[in-house]
């Protein structure tokens, strides 16, 4: 809960920086997406793929 309040403040600041004003209903929905993406990034950042170059799709013999 504490973390969510902190993230809400961060999200509000991002919107302010971009001069975006949302009505409550839209804010809530956008914030829900923001939380979802933070969760996704927490999962991505918990893994270390540093031995790979960014955005590779072809790998020699594969």
């Amino acid at each position: 809960m504490k973390n969510e309040i902190r993230l809400k403040e961060i999200f509000k600041n991002h919107l302010k920086e971009k001069k975006i004003v949302l009505e409550k209903e839209n804010f809530d929905e956008a914030f829900e997406t923001f939380l979802k993406i933070r969760k996704i990034y927490n999962s991505i950042l918990s893994k270390n793929s540093n031995s790979f170059e960014p955005r590779q799709r072809m790998f020699g013999d594969t």
């Binding site: 997406t33 993406i37 893994k47 793929s49």
Partner: protein, 462 residues
């Protein structure tokens, strides 16, 4: 059997032209009448080029040079530039965006004398999985007009499904060709990343965007690919498969084809009807002589997260120039887009490296198999009235399987496999090895020759 012109295959129409059984202007008139009759309800086309197509086909009637796509009606998703026409991306923000050049793919159709009927509807900026668009009016699924068509290439799928065009072009960043193809009962093919040029097509995410055909059959898709594939030096993401990369393989032997059936993820949390339908198709493939091998993909759970995690910051970057017009976006789009705020360059880079690791693991698994078999989507088609939030269960789940193959860039196709108890189409997805597009299409053609599910037509549009 498909007998009428609305649902004729490309090859059949081509043969009719060759044998002078019908002229391009007659075909054009038939489709224009059909569009006039049904588009008010379906909202499949945003703009129809009635006058231009009439002038064009009059000239075409007397031409002697006919390629496989000459005189074949096509709809272009409204992210694709056609010179001196608007490319609106289904948005209010780009309503005055006049294209100054043709997209490479548009030029291919012009060079081959296809009939460009118009621009098809889509989710605003191609940013959504269900097909909802409050700026242009949502497209309706021809199988049940109260239900969503799937997105984002909604109008392309609907126009083919209802016989308003022979084929259409869509774009696919997380499944936007394959999902609506599955929901509307047609065939949708996402080629290997870079095989079809994206020059002149509005971006959603440069790492994940693909352009692909949506048609009645895999054979039609193959014929379209034979025209629109090829290296484009003006597209930095373009790759070269070599000349004549798309053809019916006369040496095709299904007994030599190994299909991978994932043990995890792709059959977890899937609607029971969809699961059972796709497993019936797997059994049928086995009965036909295909080798089926169960396969573990322990890493694949990360695929959807990586797809969304990379797509969103890229989309936000592309949209940075429009964000000052935030009130002109429809709520479902802006509320989703803004979720990508605050992702740092370090985080993005880390996701991009994770993407490579994911792709490496997938490439290793694909070494010994020709294609993976999975459902295209895990959920049944929802009602439009239940789909107006960007965070519904169906909206969040719809791209769970398709997005994996935008990440890897593998060729991937959705094929109709019958209907649910509520008479809504279900799709099976086959995803092949990188650059092995022709093999994947030949497997799909063989399947459709045996099953004929692709010939099913929504009853109100027969």
């Amino acid at each position: 059997m498909i007998e009428n012109i609305y649902y004729s295959s490309i090859q059949k129409l081509h043969n009719l032209y060759k044998n002078k059984k019908i002229s391009p202007s007659e075909v054009n008139e038939i489709f224009l009448k059909r569009i006039n009759k049904h588009n008010k309800v379906l909202n499949a086309f945003i703009e129809v080029y009635e006058d231009e197509s009439k002038v064009f086909t009059k000239d075409l009637d007397i031409t002697k040079e006919f390629s496989i796509l000459s005189g074949i009606p096509v709809g272009l998703k409204d992210l694709i530039d056609l010179k001196n026409k608007f490319t609106t991306a289904g948005s209010k923000i780009l309503k005055d965006n006049l294209a100054t050049n043709n997209a490479k793919i548009t030029q291919d159709f012009i060079n081959h004398k296809s009939i460009i009927l118009g621009k098809t509807n889509l989710v605003e900026f191609a940013f959504g999985t269900l097909g909802i668009n409050t700026s242009t009016e949502t497209c309706r699924n021809p199988w049940d007009i109260k239900k969503v068509p799937g997105g984002s290439s909604s109008g392309s799928a609907v126009s083919v499904s209802a016989g308003l065009t022979t084929f259409a072009i869509g774009t696919d960043t997380g499944g936007s060709v394959r999902m609506p193809a599955s929901l509307c009962g047609i065939t949708g093919f996402k080629p290997t990343y870079g095989v079809v040029s994206r020059r002149g097509v509005l971006d959603l995410s440069w790492s994940m965007d693909h352009v692909g055909p949506m048609a009645r059959s895999a054979e039609d898709c193959l014929n379209i690919m034979s025209v629109i594939s090829g290296y484009d030096p003006k597209d930095k993401y373009s790759i070269n498969l070599g000349k004549n990369s798309f053809f019916i393989d006369k040496t095709f032997d299904r007994r030599k084809i190994k299909l991978g059936l994932p043990k995890n993820y792709f059959f977890d949390d899937v609607n029971d009807e969809i699961k059972s339908n796709v497993m019936n198709s797997v059994n049928k493939l086995s009965d036909l002589g295909y080798q089926i091998e169960e396969i573990d993909l322990p890493f694949v759970e990360d695929g959807r997260n990586l797809n969304v995690g990379i797509l969103l910051p890229e989309a936000l970057t592309i949209h940075s120039e429009y964000l000052n017009k935030f009130s002109q976006y429809s709520p479902t789009v802006i509320n989703r887009l803004l979720g990508g705020l605050g992702i740092s360059s370090e985080e993005y880079l880390s996701a991009s490296k994770s993407m490579s690791e994911f792709n490496y693991k997938m490439a290793e698994k694909m070494k010994n198999i020709d294609a993976l078999i999975t459902p295209t989507v895990p959920v049944l088609t929802p009602l439009i009235s239940d789909s107006l939030s960007p965070n519904t269960y169906e909206s969040n789940s719809m791209g769970k399987f398709t997005g994996v193959f935008n990440l890897t860039g593998q060729p991937s196709i959705s094929l109709p496999t019958g209907v649910s108890s509520k008479n809504m189409p279900i799709g099976m997805m086959l995803s092949g090895k990188m650059n092995d597009d022709n093999n994947l299409l030949n497997i799909s053609i063989d399947w459709q020759n045996e099953t004929k599910y692709h010939n099913h037509i929504p009853k109100d549009f027969e």
